[in-house]
Amino acid sequence: MTAAPDVLVRFRDVEKTYDGHVNVVDRLNLEIRRGEFLTLLGPSGSGKTTILLMLAGFEAVTAGDIALNDRSLANVPPFRRNMGIVFQNYALFPHRSVFQNVAFPLVQRRVARTVIREKVETALRMVDLAGLGDRRPHQLSGGQQQRVALARALVFEPEMVLMDEPLGALDRKLREQMQIEIKHLHDELGMTVAYVTHDQGEALTMSDRVAIMNDGLIQQVGTPHEVYEEPANAFVAGFVGENNGFEGVVESTEGAECAVRLASGDLVRARSATPRDRGEAAILSLRPERLSINPPEGMTANRFEARIVEVIYFGAHDRVRLAMAGRDDVIARVPAGAGGDTLLPGAPVTIGWSSEHCRVLAPA
């Protein structure tokens, strides 16, 4: 088997089951490229952490194979895989100082003492913890512990770094700050990162590519832009970002353009990434920010009469709930001030969107 040189890890038909009946990971085929930041995104129980544990060697693969640099990892124990791991609870050794924690992987590799000192200090400086080497983990704040865990996972220049919801325990502000710091570290050091999270915002902000998991299956792999703008199915559309979903039946197709008849009888023009047949059931996906209220005549392929149900102030934007096509949960996002004073509950409005922003998806 020859692989393109940039592939670092290759999952081939990997399956994992704990009870012999239900696969928590099913038919997994995935490549992680050298130097990329790949995020496994999915709800809890979707199998993303299990993938990480298999890659780290803590869970055996039930079927299939994982290869690192085209060599199977099947018989490589965790301590020889050379992967740095950042755990959700950090898993810092409480009986050792910060310095000893960070030095641990180097000591295991029998690195000379002077080199260890130098490398650990560099690593601590890199994560802004210079001078705290003598502290015990419990004497540090949550964010500082997180940095120690990061330094410990990076200091031995591992083949790649695995992170399992590393920011889950931090408060929001610190979390956003750490997201940026981790991203910067990745850019500076050029390391390969496999990152697990259930936070779609985190995934979109940090990743080069995102793999979206549900029920043990990969739903879509792509850049943040791809998974957001061109979701492969209704699950991805619903899980990544906010989404208006409409059920309907394909009435006609013309290249990528489709006309879909909703249950209410309304006809919507939309675009499909894959060819659709007439009469096929479909889900339409429309992002709230792509829905315009009172658009200028002729600007949009789809125009409907609607009524405002509710307007919620979000600071930078207003979230407008609309009633149309027999339902009252259609959401539009309007930049602050764009609607003027006309957006009042009960007011009748015209709404519209262009066909290229409305995607036809197969039902989940």
């Binding site: 399956e15 089951t17 704990y18 012999g20 009946h21 239900v22 696969n23 099913d26 055996a60 039930t62 079927a63 029920d215 043990g216």
Partner: protein, 409 residues
């Protein structure tokens, strides 16, 4: 999403799990093997020793065979006498007959010396008829009860030890009946063991419950100190505590000095080598085993509850009975059964502080095993004691989930 049962996936999964289980099991294996060989096996072997009866059949196999076939109604025939003569002769010559004689002595006391005397004189019997010759040596050979004793000892297995442990014996015709009065001592020991344990437990409850309550409801500092006062004797060697009581309880000991000085008594009380001393020392040793679990439960009863009950109109006694006591019952139950089980097995304290009529089952076991060397009887009584404890143990497990360790006396 699902793999069919029995698929190759399931097989692989099992293999992976088995590997991890196996390495974990390897860590447990040394101790498991050790406990099985050195502890569980020997304990189970007590069952075997309680029915094992090889002595006579080893030394006098032919006799054993003949008397086993004999119906026991009338004196056996010439062949039995011939076998006895021949086997006592060889047994006496190579000094193996003493073991068989010892075994026969369990059935009728005096049988041992009778066999040994027969052995000394066996040279005088030179030929048949052996029956008359043997009766000529010792006329008891013509008494059918001695032959029935041989039949009862013929082995290789016997129920006599197990039956004797509950004061029963098997008659020559196979029926089971109450043993003669001079041998019915074991049930008395069993009753006494339970009786002593019961009173020790009662004393522990009366003293221990208020103590645990006081520790649980005192302030932080006071309760720490009081708890240390309970833990100190708990950690002190059992022998040291027993020694202290031996010193204290003597006729000219400190307790009697105090009682005389205080004018409570006019002449020294006998406190040692009788039941009183045994009760005092055993309560002293077992009291912490009641107080500690009780305290652990009481500590978790919210202190405001009695006040709440009082504010709802309950009188103090009613409040205690309906609110406090039920919440402490698990701890009380666990402590009680622990104390009871522990006291059933007591040996050292009664042996040093009690008199002859204050010894418990453990004493019998030790006597039979180390002094008289009667393994069968020792095993049978051990089984009796073990069954007594085993009957209570499930109750204890039910009351406390998960194990806590305590030292045994």
């Amino acid at each position: 999403m699902t793999a069919p049962a029995g698929s190759s996936l399931e097989v692989k999964l099992r293999r992976a799990q088995r590997r991890r289980s196996f390495t974990s099991f390897l860590l447990v294996a040394p101790l498991l093997l050790f406990i099985l060989v050195v502890f569980a096996g020997p304990i189970l072997s007590l069952l075997y020793f309680s029915i094992d009866d090889p002595k006579l059949v080893e030394v006098m196999p032919r006799t054993a065979k003949i008397v086993t076939a004999w119906d026991g109604a009338e004196l056996p025939g010439e062949d039995a006498y011939a076998a006895v003569v021949e086997e006592i002769r060889t047994g006496y010559a190579n000094r193996t007959v003493a073991a068989a004689a010892m075994r026969l002595n369990y059935e009728i006391s005096g049988f041992r010396s009778m066999v040994m005397r027969t052995g000394r004189k066996i040279r005088r019997i030179t030929g048949p008829p052996y029956k008359d010759a043997l009766i000529g040596l010792d006329e008891r050979w013509g008494d059918i009860t001695y032959w029935r004793a041989i039949k009862a000892s013929a082995g290789p297995y016997t129920t006599r030890y197990l039956l004797a442990a509950v004061d029963l014996e098997r008659r020559w015709d196979g029926s089971v009946a109450k043993a003669p009065p001079e041998r019915t001592i074991y049930v008395e020991y069993l009753q006494r063991t339970f009786w002593i344990s019961f009173w020790v437990l009662a004393c522990c409850i009366v003293i221990g419950y208020p103590m645990a309550y006081l520790i649980a409801t005192s302030g932080r500092r006071t309760s720490r100190i009081l708890l240390a006062l309970v833990l100190l004797p708990f950690w002190t060697s059992l022998l040291v505590r027993t020694a202290a009581w031996v010193v204290l309880l003597q006729n000219k000991g400190i307790v009697n000095d105090f009682l005389l000085l205080a004018g409570i008594v006019d002449e020294p009380l006998t406190l040692i080598f009788n039941r009183t001393g045994v009760y005092i020392a055993m309560v002293h040793i077992l009291l912490p085993f009641l107080v500690l679990p009780l305290y652990a439960v009481m500590r978790n009863v919210p202190p405001g509850q009695l006040r709440a009950a009082a504010s709802l109109g309950a009188r103090p006694v009613a409040a205690f009975l309906s609110v406090y006591l039920p919440q402490t019952l698990p701890g009380l139950g666990a402590g009680c059964i622990l104390v009871f089980i522990l006291s059933l097995g007591f040996y050292i304290t009664p042996a040093l502080i009690g008199g002859a009529s204050d010894q418990m089952l453990s004493y019998l076991i030790a006597e039979f095993a180390t002094r008289t060397g009667n393994w069968g009887m020792a095993s049978a009584i051990a089984i009796l004691l073990l069954l007594s404890v085993a009957a209570l143990y499930p109750v204890y497990r039910g009351l406390v989930r998960g194990g806590t360790g305590f030292r045994f006396g």
